[in-house]
């Protein structure tokens, strides 16, 4: 489905937001595996033939103006979203479930665009949980094809708009073609600096901590570290969110009126402000996002003190 994202060409503000907890850790960037094969054909096509997207509208003033009430100095650096409510949205309209997911993808595209416009550096989205593998096979297969299609269609946009894509989760469970596409996309966009979209697929907070523990145990077995050396810094280097300069979300938004974390980024959410929106994810647009950000900016963060 063709769409256009309106982006400002001006670079992102590089100074960290004062409301973000300054990292006391040495940044550790995810070591990506080299792609197993040259860029997949769809990516090459996107790069050479500019995809099927229309030329986007350059509006330099977008990056300078924020909606009334939002303060630029208090914008969160990293926003995380649990995109809940796609199936309910479809059911309420007597549509098949897949329509809900497709509407959800459109909603995500809009939010990505808004994040870029308003100076948010990282957006993490909980696309597919480890627990979602228990859903009906037909639904899971559709979701996998939706991810593949979405990434292929938007590849041109990611390159043009200087967006970095990172994927976290147990990718070994995904279809091979999708795995390869994701790894290649991560590698190809790793030097993009304007905005980072972290997509959590086949992910859970428990999985993240256990895989970090696994890697630390291996290091201990090899004599590289002692178990007693394991501290916050070593732990964070092994968590999947080591792919970003801002691993801890400042704000978590969950849509559809559920008041739970549902196993998303547990370690990383220690001091995150939680916002629960009643609207379903496909209906979560700019107005709702603005409400969430305004609420965030009213909060007094004490980081446990």
């Amino acid at each position: 489905m063709p769409f256009s994202l309106h982006f400002s060409p001006t670079p992102l503000i590089t100074a960290p937001s004062p409301l973000s907890k300054p990292s006391f850790l040495v940044p550790y960037y995810h070591t990506l595996h080299a792609p197993k094969s040259p860029l997949c054909s769809s990516m090459e096509h996107a790069l050479t033939h500019q995809g099927k997207q229309e030329a986007f509208d350059l509006r330099p003033e977008d990056s300078q103006t924020l909606p009334l009430g939002l303060r630029r100095d208090a914008m969160p650096s990293h926003v995380a979203v649990i995109m809940d409510g796609n199936r309910r949205w479809a059911r309420l309209r007597d549509l098949p479930v897949r329509s809900g997911y497709e509407a959800g993808v459109e909603s995500l595209r809009k939010i990505v665009e808004i994040c870029c416009k308003w100076g948010i550096k990282v957006l993490s989205v909980f696309a597919f949980s480890s627990d979602n593998w228990f859903r009906p096979k037909v639904e899971v297969e559709f979701l996998m094809s939706l991810f593949e299609r979405g990434m292929q269609e938007d590849t041109g946009i990611f390159f043009r708009e200087n967006i970095r894509i990172s994927v976290i989760g147990d990718l070994t469970k995904l279809p091979k073609a999708l795995q390869e596409l994701m790894v290649n996309l991560e590698e190809a966009t790793k030097n993009n600096t304007r905005f980072q979209l972290i997509v959590a697929v086949s992910y859970s907070g428990h999985y993240d901590v256990v895989q970090a523990c696994q890697r630390l145990a291996l290091k201990a077995k090899c004599g590289l570290i002692e178990p007693s050396d394991i501290n916050v810094s070593l732990m964070e280097q092994e968590l999947e969110t080591n792919c970003t300069e801002f691993p801890h979300p400042d704000l978590l938004i969950r849509t559809s009126g559920e008041f739970r974390i549902s196993n998303f980024m547990l370690w990383q959410l220690a001091y995150t402000e939680l916002y629960f929106a009643q609207s379903l994810w496909p209906d979560f647009g700019e107005a709702e996002f603005l409400k969430a950000l305004l609420a965030f900016q009213q909060r007094q963060r004490r980081y446990g003190v």
Binding site: V209, I230, L266, W267, A270, Y275
Partner: protein, 282 residues
Amino acid sequence: MEKEVMSSLKMAGNILCSASSFIRKCIFGVLRVGPILNHIALIMDGNRRYAKKQKLSHDGAAGGGVRYDAGFWALMVMLLNCQELGVKYITAYAFSIDNFKRKPEEVESLMTSMLEKFHLLDILVKLLAVRVHFAGNLELLSNELRASAMELTEATAAYSKSVLTICIAYTSRDEILHAVRESCEQKRIDLEFRNDDDNEIKLMKVEKNMYMAVAPDPDIIIRTGGENRLSNFLLWQSCWSHLHSMWVLWPEIGVWNLVFAILNFQRNKTYCLEMKKKEKEL
């Protein structure tokens, strides 16, 4: 005449108390019909704001040192109510490792307050047959406080009606790190001495080493004071917990706040179960 008035007032007070107690018992009975709560976790936020409010209302001056007495009694009343409701596990976030960063006099005041309360806590939990467990990095506490905590844990180990876990010198990240260290150490021993070639550490292994391994995951986490965040509390265990934030300050929490939180939980749980049922039908 005065005696008659006093007597009438006393009778009226007794009737009101009985009526209130009867209404409370009826509502608790209704709540017990709904989805059963096994574990309630509490983030007891708002003590300092409450103390400031009280001081301002009494002498208008902000005093030094904040007293947590009202907060302690609020916890005891909550424990009583939870027992009456049939909730077996109650966990309270009493003191975070991050709280050590507060002003030294404030930390000192809090530690003194906690030590003073141990004797009272000892009497109350034995009366209510509550097993007390302390979760956290107790090495960070003073010898006296740590010894009192361990003594109370041992003295109540045989009780099984309810379990009160007090998180003290606790953060969830510290708990996870502790569990990870233990798991890695155990795996190293397994690999070295038992010729175990399996490099994998399973989730259950990590969970077993958590400070909170004594209790199941909380059904609901209630936070007072109006903030909407976990503040490094039960991050691992809260993955499926219903999160409920309320504006009331911790020392002001009453039974009706608890009732409302539980009704909220039951409504969400019922909705979740309905959705799961519909998914199976589809």
